[in-house]
Symmetry: C2
Subunit: 119 residues, 2 copies
């Protein structure tokens, strides 16, 4: 997945309303009225959120008569998750290495115990 697409996917996931919609879609596809129901928000606002999810490739829309059914597509989210997992592995190594260094030098680790004075 290219960087531009990751921008869209992470950007889409950065809003609680959109994450809520994706969570709702875990139960299966839903039409837009159903997706909108939990939110105290105008219909065009919901429409915009859905467009953001669509542009990120996180959902797919199927028109059936006058209703639009939305379902979640796992691919792009997986790739975003993959990005995180890939780098988190290295960050943890670094994290552990710094931890070990601090312990070896008998210093307090700011990421665990309470801090010593210096306030």
């Amino acid at each position: 997945m290219n960087e531009l697409k990751l921008d869209l996917v992470f950007g889409a996931l950065s809003d609680a309303t959109r994450r809520g919609m994706l969570a709702q879609l875990a139960h299966g596809e839903a039409n837009i009225t159903a997706l909108a129901a939990p939110y105290d928000m105008s219909q065009p606002a919901i429409s915009k959120h859905l467009r953001v999810l669509e542009k990120a490739g996180l959902v797919e829309r199927t028109r059936r008569g006058r209703e639009h059914y939305i379902r979640a597509l796992p691919g792009p989210a997986d790739e975003a998750g993959g990005w995180i997992a890939y780098y988190a592995k290295f960050w943890k190594q670094q994290f552990a290495a710094v931890d070990d260094y601090l312990k070896a030098n008998n210093q307090l680790n700011a990421n665990e115990g309470p801090k010593k004075g210096n306030d």
Copy 2:
């Protein structure tokens, strides 16, 4: 992790410059000048990006003399990854179920083969 924090984490990850910085931090901590080096961008812009990463809890800053050393913290990214992994599991089930349904009804699956006419 609360929703507000997830907003910050996903929001921080939605920018290629910030993801680049986090990628760089996979090799270990770096001072701000080093982090800034790959980008054709003013120093205050870099400073702002770092603040976004800090507010999301994705990095930690340690001042040593006049230099600020940055290192990545794996925690928040892990939680964001966890959110994705949790829901992706359900989306895949749904995905598979719809797939099966379409196949059972001898229809083409829009997610795989080419689409039939209707253009």
